[in-house]
Protein backbone atom coordinates (compact mmCIF):
# COMPACT_ATOMS: atom_id res chain seq x y z
CA UNK A 1 0.00 0.00 0.00
CA UNK A 2 1.69 3.15 -1.11
CA UNK A 3 0.55 6.63 -0.26
CA UNK A 4 -1.40 7.20 -3.50
CA UNK A 5 -3.48 4.09 -2.86
CA UNK A 6 -4.35 5.13 0.67
CA UNK A 7 -5.28 8.66 -0.43
CA UNK A 8 -7.40 7.34 -3.28
CA UNK A 9 -9.35 4.96 -1.09
CA UNK A 10 -9.85 7.62 1.59
CA UNK A 11 -11.35 10.08 -0.87
CA UNK A 12 -13.30 7.39 -2.71
CA UNK A 13 -14.96 6.35 0.54
CA UNK A 14 -15.58 10.03 1.38
CA UNK A 15 -17.21 10.64 -2.02
CA UNK A 16 -19.42 7.55 -1.95
CA UNK A 17 -20.49 8.03 1.68
CA UNK A 18 -21.38 11.68 1.28
CA UNK A 19 -23.14 11.01 -2.04
CA UNK A 20 -25.21 8.38 -0.25
CA UNK A 21 -26.13 10.94 2.40
CA UNK A 22 -27.11 13.33 -0.43
CA UNK A 23 -29.39 10.79 -2.02
CA UNK A 24 -30.86 9.02 1.00
CA UNK A 25 -31.12 11.75 3.64
CA UNK A 26 -34.63 12.78 4.59
CA UNK A 27 -33.57 16.32 5.50
CA UNK A 28 -32.83 18.32 2.39
CA UNK A 29 -30.48 20.63 4.27
CA UNK A 30 -28.26 17.67 5.22
CA UNK A 31 -28.24 16.69 1.56
CA UNK A 32 -27.12 20.15 0.49
CA UNK A 33 -24.29 20.25 3.01
CA UNK A 34 -23.24 16.69 2.27
CA UNK A 35 -22.91 17.69 -1.38
CA UNK A 36 -20.06 19.93 -0.20
CA UNK A 37 -18.00 16.90 0.85
CA UNK A 38 -18.74 15.14 -2.42
CA UNK A 39 -17.45 18.12 -4.41
CA UNK A 40 -14.34 18.38 -2.23
CA UNK A 41 -13.65 14.68 -2.66
CA UNK A 42 -14.02 14.95 -6.43
CA UNK A 43 -11.58 17.88 -6.39
CA UNK A 44 -9.10 15.72 -4.48
CA UNK A 45 -9.55 12.97 -7.08
CA UNK A 46 -8.72 15.55 -9.77
CA UNK A 47 -5.51 16.38 -7.92
CA UNK A 48 -4.61 12.69 -7.85
CA UNK A 49 -5.15 12.63 -11.62
CA UNK A 50 -2.70 15.52 -12.22
CA UNK A 51 -5.47 17.99 -13.03
CA UNK A 52 -4.54 20.88 -10.78
CA UNK A 53 -6.40 23.57 -12.70
CA UNK A 54 -9.54 21.44 -12.85
CA UNK A 55 -9.39 20.86 -9.10
CA UNK A 56 -9.25 24.61 -8.43
CA UNK A 57 -12.06 25.20 -10.93
CA UNK A 58 -14.12 22.52 -9.23
CA UNK A 59 -13.71 24.15 -5.83
CA UNK A 60 -14.36 27.67 -7.09
CA UNK A 61 -17.32 27.00 -9.39
CA UNK A 62 -19.03 24.02 -7.79
CA UNK A 63 -18.55 24.94 -4.15
CA UNK A 64 -18.37 28.70 -4.50
CA UNK A 65 -21.09 29.00 -7.10
CA UNK A 66 -23.40 26.08 -7.65
CA UNK A 67 -23.55 24.87 -4.07
CA UNK A 68 -24.31 28.35 -2.77
CA UNK A 69 -27.07 28.64 -5.38
CA UNK A 70 -28.48 25.29 -4.33
CA UNK A 71 -28.43 26.20 -0.64
CA UNK A 72 -30.18 29.47 -1.46
CA UNK A 73 -32.76 27.50 -3.41
CA UNK A 74 -33.29 25.14 -0.50
CA UNK A 75 -33.72 27.97 1.98
CA UNK A 76 -36.05 29.95 -0.27
CA UNK A 77 -38.36 27.17 -1.33
CA UNK A 78 -38.45 24.34 1.17
CA UNK A 79 -40.67 24.00 4.13
CA UNK A 80 -38.84 21.83 6.62
CA UNK A 81 -41.88 19.71 7.30
CA UNK A 82 -42.38 18.64 3.71
CA UNK A 83 -42.14 14.92 3.02
CA UNK A 84 -39.84 14.41 0.08
CA UNK A 85 -39.89 10.71 -0.69
CA UNK A 86 -43.17 9.18 -1.81
CA UNK A 87 -44.91 7.37 1.02
CA UNK A 88 -47.30 4.47 1.10
CA UNK A 89 -47.24 1.12 -0.67
CA UNK A 90 -46.98 2.53 -4.19
CA UNK A 91 -44.14 4.80 -3.13
CA UNK A 92 -42.30 1.87 -1.57
CA UNK A 93 -42.81 -0.21 -4.71
CA UNK A 94 -41.51 2.62 -6.88
CA UNK A 95 -38.49 3.00 -4.60
CA UNK A 96 -37.78 -0.73 -4.73
CA UNK A 97 -38.13 -1.01 -8.49
CA UNK A 98 -35.96 2.05 -9.06
CA UNK A 99 -33.36 0.75 -6.63
CA UNK A 100 -33.19 -2.63 -8.36
CA UNK A 101 -33.00 -1.03 -11.82
CA UNK A 102 -30.26 1.38 -10.79
CA UNK A 103 -28.32 -1.41 -9.06
CA UNK A 104 -28.50 -3.53 -12.21
CA UNK A 105 -27.37 -0.57 -14.32
CA UNK A 106 -24.48 0.21 -11.98
CA UNK A 107 -23.29 -3.40 -11.73
CA UNK A 108 -23.53 -3.89 -15.50
CA UNK A 109 -21.52 -0.75 -16.18
CA UNK A 110 -18.99 -1.69 -13.49
CA UNK A 111 -18.49 -5.19 -14.91
CA UNK A 112 -18.16 -3.71 -18.39
CA UNK A 113 -15.61 -1.17 -17.21
CA UNK A 114 -13.50 -3.74 -15.40
CA UNK A 115 -13.52 -6.31 -18.21
CA UNK A 116 -12.76 -4.05 -21.15
CA UNK A 117 -9.14 -4.12 -22.24
CA UNK A 118 -8.62 -0.41 -22.77
CA UNK A 119 -6.14 0.47 -25.45
CA UNK A 120 -4.03 2.64 -23.22
CA UNK A 121 -1.39 4.89 -24.61
CA UNK A 122 1.19 6.12 -22.19
CA UNK A 123 0.25 9.59 -21.11
CA UNK A 124 2.74 12.32 -21.76
CA UNK A 125 4.09 13.65 -18.50
CA UNK A 126 2.65 17.08 -17.82
CA UNK A 127 4.50 19.77 -15.97
CA UNK A 128 1.56 22.09 -15.61
CA UNK A 129 -1.86 21.98 -17.16
CA UNK A 130 -2.84 25.64 -17.15
CA UNK A 131 -0.88 26.90 -20.14
CA UNK A 132 -1.72 23.91 -22.41
CA UNK A 133 -5.40 24.30 -21.50
CA UNK A 134 -5.30 28.01 -22.29
CA UNK A 135 -3.52 27.42 -25.56
CA UNK A 136 -5.97 24.72 -26.57
CA UNK A 137 -9.02 26.83 -25.62
CA UNK A 138 -7.83 29.66 -27.85
CA UNK A 139 -6.80 27.51 -30.82
CA UNK A 140 -8.52 24.17 -31.34
CA UNK A 141 -11.58 24.85 -29.22
CA UNK A 142 -12.04 28.54 -29.98
CA UNK A 143 -15.52 28.13 -31.45
CA UNK A 144 -16.72 26.03 -28.52
CA UNK A 145 -15.16 28.54 -26.13
CA UNK A 146 -17.02 31.47 -27.70
CA UNK A 147 -20.24 29.46 -27.82
CA UNK A 148 -19.85 28.66 -24.13
CA UNK A 149 -19.36 32.32 -23.26
CA UNK A 150 -22.47 33.32 -25.23
CA UNK A 151 -24.34 30.48 -23.52
CA UNK A 152 -23.33 31.77 -20.10
CA UNK A 153 -24.49 35.28 -21.02
CA UNK A 154 -27.83 33.94 -22.24
CA UNK A 155 -28.18 31.84 -19.09
CA UNK A 156 -27.56 34.86 -16.86
CA UNK A 157 -30.10 37.01 -18.73
CA UNK A 158 -32.62 34.19 -18.87
CA UNK A 159 -32.29 33.37 -15.18
CA UNK A 160 -32.73 37.03 -14.23
CA UNK A 161 -35.78 37.32 -16.49
CA UNK A 162 -37.41 34.16 -15.14
CA UNK A 163 -36.74 34.78 -11.47
CA UNK A 164 -37.87 38.40 -11.56
CA UNK A 165 -41.03 39.14 -9.64
CA UNK A 166 -43.76 39.89 -12.13
CA UNK A 167 -45.70 43.12 -11.81
CA UNK A 168 -49.41 42.93 -12.22
CA UNK A 169 -50.22 44.27 -15.63
CA UNK A 170 -53.92 44.85 -15.98
Amino acid sequence: MDLITIIFYFFAVLIVASAMVVVFSKNIMYSAFSLLFTFFGVAAIYVLLNADFLALTQIMIYIGGILVLIIFGVMLTTRITGVDIKSGLIGKMQLGITGIAVAILTITLGVMYSNVKWFIRDAEPLKDTISPIGRMLLTDYLLAFEAASVLLLIAIIGAAMIARRKKNIN
Binding site: Y62, D84, L95, A123
Partner: protein, 102 residues
Amino acid sequence: MGIGLTHYLILSVILFGLGIFGIITRKNAIMVLMGLELVLNSANINFIAFAKYGGMNIEGHVAAIFVIILAAAEAAVALAIVLNIYQNYKHVNVDEIDRMKE
Protein backbone atom coordinates in the same frame (compact mmCIF):
# COMPACT_ATOMS: atom_id res chain seq x y z
CA MET B 1 -0.98 -3.14 -7.29
CA GLY B 2 -1.39 0.55 -7.80
CA ILE B 3 -4.40 2.63 -8.60
CA GLY B 4 -5.27 2.38 -12.27
CA LEU B 5 -7.88 3.54 -14.72
CA THR B 6 -10.40 0.93 -13.59
CA HIS B 7 -10.48 2.22 -10.03
CA TYR B 8 -11.49 5.69 -11.17
CA LEU B 9 -14.08 4.29 -13.58
CA ILE B 10 -15.65 2.16 -10.84
CA LEU B 11 -15.76 5.18 -8.52
CA SER B 12 -17.46 7.25 -11.20
CA VAL B 13 -20.00 4.53 -11.99
CA ILE B 14 -20.97 4.32 -8.32
CA LEU B 15 -21.43 8.09 -8.25
CA PHE B 16 -23.46 7.88 -11.48
CA GLY B 17 -25.77 5.22 -10.05
CA LEU B 18 -26.37 7.23 -6.88
CA GLY B 19 -27.12 10.33 -8.94
CA ILE B 20 -29.60 8.53 -11.19
CA PHE B 21 -31.30 7.02 -8.13
CA GLY B 22 -31.62 10.49 -6.60
CA ILE B 23 -33.01 11.98 -9.79
CA ILE B 24 -35.68 9.31 -10.13
CA THR B 25 -36.83 8.85 -6.54
CA ARG B 26 -36.86 12.32 -5.01
CA LYS B 27 -39.85 14.59 -5.37
CA ASN B 28 -38.24 17.90 -4.50
CA ALA B 29 -36.98 19.70 -7.61
CA ILE B 30 -33.82 20.83 -5.83
CA MET B 31 -33.00 17.26 -4.88
CA VAL B 32 -33.35 16.33 -8.54
CA LEU B 33 -30.85 19.10 -9.29
CA MET B 34 -28.42 17.69 -6.74
CA GLY B 35 -28.66 14.25 -8.34
CA LEU B 36 -27.90 15.89 -11.67
CA GLU B 37 -24.77 17.48 -10.22
CA LEU B 38 -23.62 14.06 -9.00
CA VAL B 39 -24.07 12.62 -12.50
CA LEU B 40 -22.13 15.49 -14.08
CA ASN B 41 -19.33 15.04 -11.55
CA SER B 42 -19.07 11.35 -12.35
CA ALA B 43 -18.82 12.18 -16.06
CA ASN B 44 -16.05 14.63 -15.24
CA ILE B 45 -14.11 12.01 -13.28
CA ASN B 46 -14.28 9.79 -16.37
CA PHE B 47 -12.97 12.58 -18.60
CA ILE B 48 -10.02 13.32 -16.34
CA ALA B 49 -9.24 9.63 -15.77
CA PHE B 50 -9.07 9.08 -19.51
CA ALA B 51 -7.01 12.24 -19.83
CA LYS B 52 -4.37 10.71 -17.59
CA TYR B 53 -4.52 7.04 -18.49
CA GLY B 54 -6.22 6.85 -21.88
CA GLY B 55 -4.01 9.21 -23.83
CA MET B 56 -6.58 11.97 -24.17
CA ASN B 57 -4.10 14.25 -22.43
CA ILE B 58 -5.15 17.87 -22.26
CA GLU B 59 -8.27 17.45 -24.41
CA GLY B 60 -9.96 15.59 -21.57
CA HIS B 61 -9.35 18.58 -19.33
CA VAL B 62 -10.91 20.92 -21.88
CA ALA B 63 -13.99 18.68 -22.17
CA ALA B 64 -14.31 18.68 -18.38
CA ILE B 65 -14.13 22.48 -18.35
CA PHE B 66 -17.02 22.67 -20.79
CA VAL B 67 -19.02 20.28 -18.62
CA ILE B 68 -18.43 22.56 -15.62
CA ILE B 69 -19.53 25.61 -17.66
CA LEU B 70 -22.73 23.86 -18.70
CA ALA B 71 -23.38 22.77 -15.11
CA ALA B 72 -23.09 26.36 -13.89
CA ALA B 73 -25.46 27.68 -16.56
CA GLU B 74 -27.92 24.86 -15.92
CA ALA B 75 -27.91 25.41 -12.16
CA ALA B 76 -28.64 29.14 -12.54
CA VAL B 77 -31.55 28.66 -14.95
CA ALA B 78 -32.96 25.70 -13.02
CA LEU B 79 -32.89 27.61 -9.73
CA ALA B 80 -34.69 30.54 -11.38
CA ILE B 81 -37.38 28.20 -12.69
CA VAL B 82 -37.71 26.52 -9.28
CA LEU B 83 -38.17 29.91 -7.58
CA ASN B 84 -40.84 30.80 -10.12
CA ILE B 85 -42.64 27.51 -9.57
CA TYR B 86 -42.55 28.10 -5.82
CA GLN B 87 -44.23 31.48 -6.24
CA ASN B 88 -47.12 29.87 -8.10
CA TYR B 89 -47.52 26.55 -6.32
CA LYS B 90 -46.02 27.11 -2.83
CA HIS B 91 -44.16 23.82 -3.23
CA VAL B 92 -41.61 22.37 -5.63
CA ASN B 93 -42.70 18.74 -5.92
CA VAL B 94 -42.00 17.77 -9.49
CA ASP B 95 -44.76 15.15 -9.68
CA GLU B 96 -47.55 17.59 -8.81
CA ILE B 97 -46.61 20.31 -11.26
CA ASP B 98 -48.78 19.88 -14.32
CA ARG B 99 -49.59 23.41 -15.53
CA MET B 100 -47.28 25.89 -17.14
CA LYS B 101 -49.42 28.92 -16.24
CA GLU B 102 -52.43 29.48 -14.07
